[in-house]
Symmetry: C2
Subunit: 201 residues, 2 copies
Amino acid sequence: MKQHELEFWFGFASPYAYVSAMRIEEWVSAVGITVRWMPFLLDPVFKAQGWETSPFNLYPMKGRYMWRDVERLCSRGRLPFVQPEKFPQNSLLATRLAVAGGEQEWLIAFCKRLLHEEFGRGKDISGRPAIESILGEFADDASLWLERAQSPETKALLHERGAEAKRKHIFGSPSFITSDDELFWGDDRLEQAIEWILKRR
Amino acid sequence: MKQHELEFWFGFASPYAYVSAMRIEEWVSAVGITVRWMPFLLDPVFKAQGWETSPFNLYPMKGRYMWRDVERLCSRGRLPFVQPEKFPQNSLLATRLAVAGGEQEWLIAFCKRLLHEEFGRGKDISGRPAIESILGEFADDASLWLERAQSPETKALLHERGAEAKRKHIFGSPSFITSDDELFWGDDRLEQAIEWILKRR
């Protein structure tokens, strides 16, 4: 597999992943950095810290602040933002599909569109109809991919993705990892991850 | 008391407060914003979330990342950085002293110097000798201030400072609050707090 200069790790349930997904391409294409999108499940990461749900729900002051912060970030970046009623949303099927998609041409467009539905329009993206409809915009064989998403092979891939996240010390979304294993956490560290790569070229 | 455009809330045990303290003056003076330094104790805030110590100790992956992140931030900002052996340090006396100091001329210089000793040189700043010696550099009557720091009046002031932090929904350090009650959390939000003020002038 081709080595990329930057890995963009994100969970579909993560509001800050939405902000990063909408802006990362412009940034990296401006400086010619190759990025691999690495969707992963946050639940096992949270469980490893002893959290049964998102820390934004466990710590309401932080959660309240987070939504305001995301709203401000979207406003500054001229991104639409609607807080979904349910948070975090179950993103198992979406993540399986995206992991099954590997580096398919539709992958990035699909991920962006899904995050946009969820946080730009406040929609529910947990069910198969919503996901299949979105994928159908970018891939001809959406229902085939949905089948693949639920295959044992994909489940194994997703499991391995989680193991890789753990090996790479990832504890939140979004995270950016350079090819020399430097970890940057949070949408607000994207620029520093890019700076890190440029300085070492 | 004079109304300031920005309040800079910080705990002396907070590595990111060190980074902010070292850079906030240059930023705000460049655009002519008035700032009030608001030292406060983080312990009650953590306890309110159910944490007996810093979340950076409770969640080792986050803690490990935090030290690396602070090291990088210091490197980018050309700030000295030495990770102290003990973390978090007991900052009760330092906070009492800084709260007693109110808006004394020595306050900012003292806070910066203390944070620099702690995170720029990795020194222990929990004891009276270290604190008195630092204050002595900026105030003639250091020992008098140390007495005041331990008076019932100061303890009441510190308690009220904590209550104010709670009213203002502060949950971490550093936090920046504008005079129209907009809360920004984290060193990386300083620029956005300033932008917020400038846009509303």
